[in-house]
């Protein structure tokens, strides 16, 4: 049997979804021979490869690097899954949106806090990716095929979705599987 080329990506999120993925414990050993992990924060791969079958994308699109990565993912992947509430809704990552555009957010978060300390906003664009003015869910940037909500989605929920995708059918959208939070 041909191995499914699986990738996982970490955009603007806390990595909690990846931690939940690791909560699959010994099932990961069952999964390993059926997939090839071609890109992931859990693997040392520098560039997102061509010809990915399935990708789980954690995190919202919060900065320019996230936005470009989202487009690369979409171009090079058959099935894109929004993995967790930040990718699906913006969630905690998007809680900065009501504060205003990126500059106001940075001022609120850092300068007011550090008044008098002489600290400056990070402005080296080569090193720090530029924040987008508005944090967006993944599907606002590129088309998404399936949604796996949860903060984080439980290991059981992740397993069910990955099993369905490996078997080649659409994941369940039952109420207990798609609840936010």
């Amino acid at each position: 049997m041909e191995r499914v080329r699986l990738a996982t990506v970490w955009l603007g999120g806390c990595s909690g979804c990846h931690m939940s993925f690791l909560d699959l414990d010994e099932w990961l050993l069952d999964l390993a021979p059926r997939i090839e992990l071609v890109y992931s924060p859990l693997a040392d791969v520098k560039e997102y490869p061509e010809g990915v079958d399935v990708v789980l994308v954690e995190g919202a699109v919060a900065n320019e690097e996230n936005r470009q990565m989202a487009k690369v993912i979409r171009r090079r992947t058959k099935v894109v899954v929004s993995f967790g509430d930040c990718a699906v809704t913006g969630n905690v990552t998007a809680m900065r949106n009501p504060l205003g555009k990126s500059l106001e957010v940075l001022r609120t978060s850092y300068l007011l806090e550090s008044a008098g300390t002489g600290l400056r906003l990070p402005d080296d664009r080569e090193i720090v990716p530029v924040l987008l003015d508005k944090v967006e869910p993944l599907h606002a940037i590129v088309p998404v095929d399936h949604y796996l909500p949860g903060c984080p989605p439980s290991a059981a929920r992740i397993k069910a979705v990955v099993e369905d995708l490996l078997a080649g059918h659409a994941p369940s959208r039952a109420a207990e599987v798609i609840r936010f939070g």
Partner: protein, 238 residues
């Protein structure tokens, strides 16, 4: 008592004359989703989730304010209704800041539960991310306007059950918001009796007990209906 017979989802149902289609359906075991409906207080027909199709009527009808009538043929589960209900929920999610993961009502929220039940696995419309305040001036309770869906259950509960009418709605359109008295901080309200019924009535995490953290705010919404029934049937002697 006059009784009418109608058909709901191909099932013959009898109802008291004047009873709402929503109540008639519920008694027949047919669940119609609701958010602004709360047993014990009047109907607002604000949320539109209970929209149903009635044969011979061109427009969709809100089941909570449509009287059951003889020979009426009602459909509560069609593709059109399912799509509209999902759209309504998605628009509610875009209009406020509903961050379930960090909400006091996570796991005990009617909006969150309905979204899952009605198949809302993502929101297709752009989020508005409005800047909305949180008022923690009351000694026991607090209101987080980010989570408010303007169902007006608190307004009706405070007015009709407690008789205080502390809450009301100010503003128009997307700037509509719930206010205490004439718009002062809740803690400075002179009419609020601190009874907490509004907190129990709230379907989301907008009204909560101070000190509640994520997922801690459980609510006992049925108490309010029980209270009204007990008063009507004079179950308590004073």
């Amino acid at each position: 008592m006059a009784v009418v017979t109608l058909t709901i989802d191909d099932k013959p149902v009898s109802a008291r004359a004047g009873e709402s289609v929503l109540d008639a359906a519920k008694e027949a075991g047919i669940e119609i989703p609701t958010l602004c409906h709360l047993p014990g207080v009047s109907e607002a027909a604000a949320c539109r989730l209970c929209l149903v199709q009635v044969e011979g009527r061109g427009r969709l009808q809100a089941a909570c304010v449509t009287a059951a009538a003889e020979g009426m043929v009602v459909r509560t589960q069609t593709d059109t209704l399912r799509e509209y209900r999902r759209m309504i929920l998605e628009l509610l999610f875009t209009e406020g800041n509903h961050v379930c993961a960090v909400c006091v009502a996570n796991g005990n929220c009617e909006l969150q539960t309905l979204a899952a039940e009605l198949g809302m696995d993502h929101v297709r419309y752009p989020y508005l991310n409005p800047a909305r305040p949180v008022d923690v001036t009351h000694k026991q309770y607090a209101i987080d306007h980010n989570r408010c869906i303007l169902c007006t259950r608190c307004v009706r509960t405070c007015d009709e059950i407690e008789g205080a009418h502390t809450w009301d709605v100010a503003g128009r359109g997307t700037s509509s918001h719930v206010i205490a008295d004439m718009g002062q901080p809740w803690g400075e309200s002179v009419t609020c009796t601190s009874c907490g019924k509004c907190v129990q009535s709230c379907p989301t995490g907008a009204l909560f007990r101070q000190g509640s953290t994520v997922a801690e705010m459980t609510k006992d919404r049925e108490k309010l209906g029980d209270l009204v029934t007990a008063r009507r049937e004079k179950k308590w002697s004073v």
